[in-house]
Amino acid sequence: MSTIASSPSLTDNPRCCDWLDLSRPGRVVLKSGKVEIGQGITTALVQIAADELDVAPGIVTLISGHTALGPLEAGTSSSLSIETGGRAVRLAASAVRAILLAEAAKLLQAPIESLSVDAGRIAVEGRETDLTYWSLAPAVDLTAPVMDHARPKAPAERRLVGTSMPRIDLATKAAGPGFIHDVELPGLLHGRTLDPPAAGRRLEAFDEEAFKRAFPTVQIVRDGSFVGVIAEREDLAVRAIAQAARLATWSQGFAVPALMREAIAADAAEPETVIEKGDVSAAEGRLISTEIERPYIAHASVAPSCAIATWNGDALEIYSHSQAVHDMRAPLAKALGIEARNVVVIHVPGAGTYGHSGQDDVAYEAALLARAVPGRPVRLLWSRAADFSLAPLGPGAIVRAEAKVNSGGRITAFSIQSQSQAHVSRPGRGGTLNLVAAERLATPLQKGKPLDVPVERGGGADRNAVPLYAFPSIHVSKRILLGLPYRTSALRALGGYANIFAIETLMDDIAAEIGADPVAFRLRHLEDARAAAVISKAAEMAGWPGPRAQGEGLGIGFCQYKNRSAYCAVIVRVVCDERVRVTHAWSAVDAGEAINPDGIKNHIEGSIVQSASWTLKEQVAFDGDAVATRDWEAYPILHFSEVPEIEVDLLVRPELPGLGVGETAMGPTAAAIGNAVNRALGIRVRTLPITRDAILAAG
């Protein structure tokens, strides 16, 4: 058994019973700490468990993200849910099957090799018996460690995994009560909170008496500059908070350099070396460099953040759509002055999330409100403006990259430096609190210094800054800015979006400089056959290099996410007239084993669209310390009429571990658009987003 690789998710949840429960006849209860954020993970987990157990997926009930009933896994982030959570489910289900079959073999006095399972019923030499998982379950000990019994199927034995099983949750989400916003609880009350103009502002004056006169049936909760209302009816809470906003005066903001370039230059942060290999300064060759700039980007989930909190004595129950249901307990408890074991968090999906948005903040604020009404659940829904302006943003960045290319057309040295605010400041990470309302209490709780992610965990600002290309010498560094006032944290792909844009547009610039074809130039520098295969496949799909025409062109981008998750090449076709239109996108992806091929394709299609939206349109604007882009008119995203036709092909490798796909297309899509615009117009745009103005400024 020692040859079977474990999963980090099993470290804190090592027992079979942490993952599976067979106490309900005819049902399999599967438990996971990974949660549905729109990516289809719950369907994939059910597929994996049903396959290993040889049962129909329809009898599997999934408990996902319940801290009292399920395993306490790390958050649903970093494209790790299949790699770690899915692996744990596979191992646990295989262990439960092995334990049950051993018991059946004993009772039937038959060799275990002669047994098979169909729909949970045991057969000997293909003949049915009276034994089922559920008749056997009371006699076996499912507290046994998973790794003592795990014996996952060989790839050829899998039946459900590798098929495109439809999503288990889509029908309810399309037309029924599928979201946290829809949860009904007895005695549910409705909460709203007062939005400060920016995270750090103080409430200078608030006419609480006038508010109470106007809304005598509405409960008001105030602690320093945190103000919320609780009402029996949602429409009443909405009216009340609008009135409260009129009765509030906030402290003034402060000026911040309007140009990010200046703000970044003025910051005192020192660069830190991430990786150094060889001596870049000693390498021979012609120096070619780039410097790219990406703006701050909003999560812009279609629904604002939401949570439901109920207090019973010192015990707090939270319904949340957070990606970090377990990890949020300790910081929440600390901020509320209770024990973490008294906090139960139950995940219910919200609209899609793409990182650390306001999901944890709203849970804390719901708890602050609900404390005023013990025993009654309070649902807090943030305003659209709060979701845009108070939630963490994906940080703006400047990335400088340079390479030396020798007379043989090979890159001899490569250097890159990423500069931005920290990319991860989730509550609890590195001991930080980082709950936005905690900073405006009468006795403020400070958030602490944000930490970036170390490169061993995939890096933050430096995510995907280490090129996958085989360059003889490299130097990778980052500069984490601490002087800027904006609230930043994890947004899809973290620094990988800007770093891959920098690396992959520089690769095209160098290829152009030496007269090489961009695809051939990349292949020349790749020793990883899987990387080469996705690039070649995408080129074939797109008909690379395509016809050359004024204002039209193909462009390519590539990465292996975190240099360890899925490989992804993207080619786009752009047409540039009064604006840039991406008309087509082709992508080849190698995610190893594909649990659900259509689920992967759907996810890649979605990330191509989202990345195209960031790359062509999106940019958070500031007014000093405050976010100025507070609604959809000020912060437009890609519309139906702007979305390309998309074709995705998977290079499936059933014998290799499944790799996360959630973020891998973000950087390649951006680079592909930048490179396509350059080929269409002969203009290299280095400032994102690639708008008409950005093209005119660069041209």
């Binding site: 954020i37 729109g38 990516q39 289809g40 495109s164 439809p166 999503r167 949750d169 889509l170 029908a171 989400k173 399309a174 037309a175 029924g176 009560p177 599928g178 979201f179 916003h181 829809d182 009904e184 009816r233 949602e234 429409d235 909405v238 812009a300 989930s301 279609v302 629904a303 604002p304 999906p349 919200g350 609209a351 899609g352 999330t353 793409y354 829904l381 659209r384 259509d598 689920g599 759907n602 996810h603 299609e605 979605g606 990330s607 191509i608 669209v609 989202q610 939206s613 609604d631 959809w632 008119e633 995203i637 890609l638 519309h639 139906f640 009429s641 979305v643 390309p644 036709e645 998309i646």
Partner: protein
């Protein structure tokens, strides 16, 4: 609070609410029809689109008192006990969603389109849905789902 009679998905329903209450909250909280999604609640994202006498409108911007005798249709009308409306089947067959939050509003907009044009072109569908926001990027599948529904609807008649 006023007593107001609404006609929703073919039923007459009575509620007691303030007359300026947005229809969105009445549908979701008083009538328990949770399928109509609260998105921006500012009339911009279109998540809460319902049909009022066949015309798509954002329920967050319509005071309940303005509905009067008009007939309101919500996404719940598309999910039948025996069979679904072709649009909902189209979404499921194309697996046209990720988080799924935007779908209900789009389904209602698409229903209004198919009710007046049973053979829409891709451009017609794009134009109808263009104001609806989807952050996950399921657009191409959603367009295919509506095309599939239009074909299924034509096959049925």
């Amino acid at each position: 609070m006023d007593a107001i009679r609404l006609h929703v998905n073919g039923k007459a329903l009575d509620v007691r609410v303030a007359p300026d209450t947005p229809l969105l909250y009445v549908l979701r909280n008083d009538l328990g029809l949770k399928g109509t999604r609260a998105g921006c609640v500012e009339g911009q994202c279109m998540s809460c689109t319902v049909l009022i006498d066949g015309r798509p409108q954002t329920a967050c911007m319509v005071p309940v008192s303005a509905v009067g005798d008009q007939h309101v249709e919500t996404v719940e009308a598309l999910a039948g006990e025996k069979s679904n409306h072709p649009l909902l089947d189209g979404i499921l067959e194309e697996q046209a969603g990720q988080c799924g939050y935007c779908l209900a509003g789009m389904l209602m907009r698409a229903k209004a389109l198919l009710d007046r044009n049973g053979a829409p072109t891709r451009a017609d569908i794009v134009a109808a849905l263009d104001g609806h926001l989807c952050r996950c990027g399921a657009h191409v599948r959603i367009l295919r789902a509506v095309e599939r529904a239009a074909q299924a609807g034509r096959a049925r008649t």
